[in-house]
């Protein structure tokens, strides 16, 4: 095994990745502060302490910076759901859902600067009419999300934990419920993610009506 020829390329790749990440981090901050349209490439470059041209060496358009950010965070968020590779993942529906929701909330909390604006760009746009403005990739992304949520709901229906309503409606409901509390995460700095997850699940499962004798 000759490692030498590997070394330089590897370093190069690392360097590339560092620039790329620096740009994305800077963009996340600047987008959050000024919104996508209010953010100038110049601002992002300055925040990343690089030159404007360098941004263009890594992304061919401003839009691509946003897309990459959406891609990255979406992927990160979805990774919180996919629990297949976790050994300690609970098996029962509710605790498993709770674990997933808690992880998602934590992730959103960590990147709240970004999620605050992602909303404006259709990340949570749900079933909004696919306007000409929503890029094809955006729609795909939303569809991935939807699929993940639908899978969860279908699991629940299959396991008998959820009422066999329309899976689509239920997945939207789950999304909406989470979103309600995600927004709290965005607003607060040190939100108690665990408690929020519990409340989210509780309301998702049993609603807001006056509980009678049902055991929680």
């Amino acid at each position: 095994m000759n490692l030498v020829p590997d070394r330089l390329p590897r370093r190069r790749d690392e360097a590339r990745a560092m620039f790329r990440n620096a740009i994305l981090d800077a963009a996340e901050a600047v987008f959050a502060e000024r919104g996508f349209h209010g953010a100038r490439i110049q601002d992002i470059a300055e925040r990343a302490r690089i030159a404007v041209g360098t941004v263009y060496n890594h992304f061919s358009q401003k839009d691509d910076v946003l897309s990459a950010l959406l891609e990255e965070r979406t992927e990160g968020l979805l990774a919180q759901v996919r629990a297949d590779d976790r050994e300690d993942e609970p098996a029962a529906f509710r605790p498993r859902l709770e674990a997933r929701v808690a992880r998602m909330l934590a992730y959103v909390q960590k990147h709240r600067a970004f999620f605050a604006i992602a909303n404006e760009h259709g990340l949570f746009a749900g079933a909004v009419a696919p306007s000409a403005r929503a890029s094809a990739r955006n729609l795909e992304r939303m569809e991935t999300f939807r699929a993940v949520f639908r899978a969860i709901v279908e699991e629940g229906i299959a396991s008998g934990d959820l009422e066999p309503f329309d899976a689509d409606a239920l997945s939207r409901f789950l999304g909406g419920t989470m979103r309600a509390f995600v927004l709290t995460s965005l607003a607060q700095d040190g939100a108690d993610v665990r408690a929020q997850a519990t409340m989210t699940i509780d309301l998702f499962l049993y609603g807001a009506s006056r509980r009678r004798k049902r055991a929680k």
Copy 2:
């Protein structure tokens, strides 16, 4: 009563209002098509079949057109909730809530072009961290919304229909649930508003868990 002196001023006011409405209608359509930033004043003027300058005779900035639209639609949406003046408004919590929700869904459906973009401008931003970008008026508007939802929830708690959870959390939950179905309204042309309202309320009240013997 001498109506004559009234005539001209009245006509003038009417003319003013007509222009203003034409502009707002055109803006609603253009914003929906291209988004706020993609919409040029020229586009709005053309759609309204007036000159660019005329837009500026009625709104001093592009931003103000959006604001006025938000104002108008927000007010319209809230008007659907305030049921005090309706004689046929049901008295019981659930049917009353259902009626309100149905009216709101219908209103959103009617102005879905607008609500699709209002989303991007914080109308539903909920508790998102009040960024420097959200105008003071925007915050006020969101607060009004919040207050209306909280009032509904508090009614429900008082009447014993809702579990005495934190009113703030419940109002967010109600908002999130509605939003999930509102988005469906936005996507579809002839959505069955009544059915959606029922499903919204049902999920809001009883959640998604498998129903046992509880009477629906």
Copy 3:
């Protein structure tokens, strides 16, 4: 003599003149405040308490308002020089010149708001290269001025009071000297016009050098 047919027309003319004057007065004030380009027809109309359209009933363009003003004030200023009709006008060169200068200074002082900006529009532009921008009428006006000053100077040369220098140079010198003190008039509210006139003439005649034994 039938006065009736005269009455209405006369009143009409008076009315026209009143509007015209109101506009010119307003324009004088607004031009002085904001400069010609900074003054909007709207501003002038407001100051004159009339409608924008009315301004256009009296002047066909914005430029014409300025022109009319220049015309009027130029004429007024020149009227201060032409002393032919005054019975008490001194005959000797120096007192006569002094009287004329004093009257001009007083006139400028009275209309200083206007003269402060007239400068920007070539009223005193003197021999500036006749740019394409200086309207033909403007040049004529300047020429009239020049002619008046030259006449004065030639009088002085003829009477032996002035050194037989180039009449053109002398007239420019007289203009420059006056201008130096006119500017003081513009700055101060209650400038002592008489004293200024005396100083102007004194310097014009004898210069600034140390006086020896010559009787002043």
Copy 4:
């Protein structure tokens, strides 16, 4: 001495300065042709053979281009007066003044395109009432001028060459006299600066009255 590291920055600075000068030169010409308001940034850019945006890389507003021009020419004009560093500067009051005036006239002649419009923007506004429109910097500039002229005049009074009149009045008189002949410079292409300077000084010192036996 290592010049290498210096090279690039030095070249960059030179490049910057070249663009800046190209813009100012173009602006001088265009302003002279069309006046400040009639000059479009586009015109200036075209004349300088650069893009519109480049103008904005060097000046943040159109106003700033004019200001920079005023600054530069004012400084240039004043530099003609400050004779301290000249070895061949005459010591006696009159020849010294004459040298200074000649240099100023030559400078104005050289940049007459500019001075023709500077007039419109208060460069020579003298003691005009400091309107809200005259920028603070403008006033400063005028004050500098005034100070220079006053210093000259005071020198003359101190040396006994000038009558001990009010220094302020005398400095205005000097300015006015010069201005009268400067304007001639502006009009003519190949004006005889030396002769003009002599005439200026002569009139400034001895006025226009008929000379008796006094030795010139």
